[in-house]
């Protein structure tokens, strides 16, 4: 009986710690999503007046759980409130200013296609995200969260990414460009 209890406690702890590790990584990534806003510049029409909130959207799988909402809570950037929205369809996500796309392969390519021409900063973490036409990809370097940026695709969408941010990122280009 006691032995069984010990095994149970052990597994419980292992699960909790795994979750905690995961949640720390995504907590950082959630913070990054918020901070990207501060270093990117949208066309004036895309931001609207001060009452218009800046939208961080999530398309596809949501690895953040409630962390993103928590991070964004009560935060303002440049006078704009920040809100989080979740989308099922890529065409609905065109209104988002920053969009985390939790998709892969054909599905990802389709979503990016649907977002073409919209001033949306696309962020992902799948290996082929940049090659598929995404702008910012999270990577893990030296056990720390870092990111790659393709400034060309951001520019195509009418976005300006601050030099400050570019300095921190690994600058990449899509295959075939």
């Amino acid at each position: 009986m006691r032995f069984r209890m010990a095994i149970l406690v052990f597994f419980l702890c292992a699960w909790v710690s795994a979750y905690a590790e995961d949640s720390l990584e995504y907590k950082v990534k959630a913070g990054f999503l918020l901070n990207f806003i501060k270093f990117a510049e949208w066309p004036a029409a895309a931001l609207g007046d001060k009452d218009t909130p800046i939208v961080i959207g999530v398309l596809g799988d949501n690895p953040f759980g409630p962390l993103l909402e928590k991070t964004v809570q009560n935060r303002e950037v440049d006078g704009h409130k920040v809100s989080v929205r979740k989308y099922k369809q890529a065409k609905d996500a065109r209104e988002a200013h920053v969009l985390f796309i939790g998709m892969k392969g054909e599905q990802l390519a389709g979503a990016l296609k649907a977002l073409e021409g919209s001033p949306t900063l696309t962020v992902g973490e799948s290996d082929a995200f940049i090659d598929a036409g995404g702008m910012v990809r999270f990577v893990i370097r030296d056990e720390k969260v870092g990111f790659e940026i393709n400034p060309a695709s951001a520019k195509k969408a009418g976005l300006k990414i601050g030099a400050q941010l570019l300095r921190l990122a690994k600058i990449v280009g899509a295959k075939g460009e």
Binding site: F32, N35, K38, V77, D78, Q164, L165, R167
Partner: protein, 482 residues
């Protein structure tokens, strides 16, 4: 040399230089102070902009928690050598990234202080790191004052150069500009010096302008002209006087010579008739003596003795004349021998007299032996004569020292004389004793004085009535032999 003894030209130059250099020093000091405060403000502004740029460059690194990137950014501050250290602190005040100059010895504070500029041994600026109007951290930048001290070092050289150049320019300009002012004065001083050195009052200073200096030159020249006039008048007067004196002297000498020649010829010519009188009165006495009575014989005797006295007088006058006219032939003479010869003659004439005589030996002198013989003839003769009435006659002849010179003396214990008449002692024909007491012509001592004077010497006497007489005489040419 003291400053006030400098020439007027240098005084002028030094004064101008002092004025110029102090003016430029004052301006340089003001300029320096002004520039210094400007530099200080510039340094502060510079530090502020550096910190702002650094802060702005670090916002992303701070936001995305990338200390490496922030360190890289801050290390760019090494391009500013004055920056000692910089630190980036996150929102919670933890040191996030830092930069320290290689030689910096101070550590960065663990937590940033309050915002602001602090000026102490270093210049420290603490300011916010802003992103989209939100404070995301704090930047700390510390600078040394090397910018300022480098500037002081560089500008000190520049200012020193400016001061030096000004001093040189002042020296150059003032030595050029002093000419019109000072040339007349310098020239005047030069002329004055020449006048004083050469005693040449014909020199004149040139007048350059109608100003005060021109007036000075004019008056100076007038003064010189007056002196010159007076000087030449004086010189003329002196020349005239000299000519007159020479004329007078020549007249006197001629008159004197004529007189001497006259007295010589009188004495000489009177001797022939006198010899006639003497000869015939002797013949008269010898041939017709017995026929004359006693009174006649006595009168004839008187005629004879008067004639003989007159002959003696004429001889003395002739010998004195000879002393005056003959040329001096000096040689070594021993007055001791000369005196003994004279004394021998005197003893032969009066063998009955007992005289105690002391003569020092030797008594070397330089002089004309013939004339010195006359001197001793007279002096010893006088001593012999004036001691004739003493029971114990004494004569002493020797040499003593007076006033550092050798003096011959001749002392007797004879009749002596009253010193009140000493001045007339050497006057010709002047006698201090009656002819009846002591016979004599009154020519001897005058002759002696003439001889001593011709030898460049001096003769004088000390005496008192009935106490004896001492004659002193010098012969400067006398040379002593050991």
């Amino acid at each position: 040399m003291r400053l006030r003894d400098l020439s007027i030209k240098w005084k002028f130059v030094v004064t101008i230089m002092i004025v110029c250099v102090s003016a430029i020093l004052a301006s340089v000091a003001v300029l320096f102070a002004f520039e210094y405060s400007a530099m200080e403000a510039l340094l502060e502004r510079d530090l502020e902009s550096i910190s702002r740029v650094s802060a702005s460059n670090c916002t992303a690194a701070l936001t995305f928690d990338d200390p490496q990137a922030a360190n890289d950014t801050l290390s760019a501050l090494s391009a500013k050598p004055a920056i000692e250290a910089a630190g980036l602190y996150d929102k919670e005040g933890r040191l996030f990234a830092s930069y320290r100059r290689a030689d910096d010895k101070n550590t960065l504070p663990e937590r940033p202080g309050s915002d602001g500029l602090e000026k102490a041994s270093h210049l420290t600026l603490i300011g916010p790191v802003m992103l989209k109007q939100e404070r995301i951290g704090t930047i700390y930048v510390r600078s040394d004052f090397s910018t300022l001290s480098n500037w002081i070092g560089a500008s000190a050289w520049v200012f020193a150069g400016v001061v030096l150049a000004t001093a040189l320019a002042a020296l150059l300009l003032s030595s050029l500009l002093q000419k019109p002012f000072l040339a007349p004065i310098v020239e005047l001083a030069d002329i004055a010096r020449q006048v004083s050195a050469k005693k040449d009052y014909s020199l004149r200073a040139a007048k350059h302008a109608e100003d005060e200096l021109g007036l000075l030159v004019e008056k100076f020249n007038e003064m010189l002209a007056q002196i010159q006039t007076r000087d030449s008048a004086l010189e003329q007067a002196r020349d005239e006087l000299e000519v007159r004196v020479q004329e007078r002297t020549r007249d006197l000498q001629e008159t004197n010579k004529e007189l001497e020649a006259f007295s010589y010829s009188v004495a000489h010519d009177l001797r022939a008739p006198l010899r006639g009188i003497d000869g015939f009165s002797q013949v008269l006495l010898e041939d017709y003596g017995p026929r004359l009575d006693e009174t006649g014989q006595e009168h004839l005797q008187r005629v004879r003795s008067a004639t003989q006295r007159m002959a003696q007088l004429l001889d003395d006058l002739l010998s004195r004349s000879k002393v005056t006219r003959s040329t001096l032939r000096p040689s070594q003479v021993d007055l001791h021998e000369l005196a003994n010869a004279v004394l021998a003659d005197l003893r032969r004439q009066n063998p009955e007299r007992q005289v105690e005589v002391t003569v020092d030996a030797p008594l070397i002198a330089k002089g004309d032996p013939g004339l010195l013989r006359i001197v001793l003839d007279n002096l010893l003769g006088n001593a012999w004569k004036f001691t004739s009435k003493k029971e114990r006659a004494r004569i002493e002849f020797g040499k003593t020292q007076a006033d550092g010179a050798s003096v011959f003396f001749l002392r007797d214990n004879g009749a002596g004389f009253d010193m009140a008449y000493a001045a007339k002692l050497f006057t010709v024909f002047h006698r201090l004793h009656k002819a009846s007491d002591f016979p004599g012509t009154g020519v001897g001592l005058a002759t002696v004085q003439r001889i001593v004077q011709r030898h460049g010497g001096r003769i004088w006497a000390e005496s008192a009535l009935e106490q004896g007489t001492t004659f002193y005489f010098t012969l400067p040419n006398a040379e002593e032999r050991p």
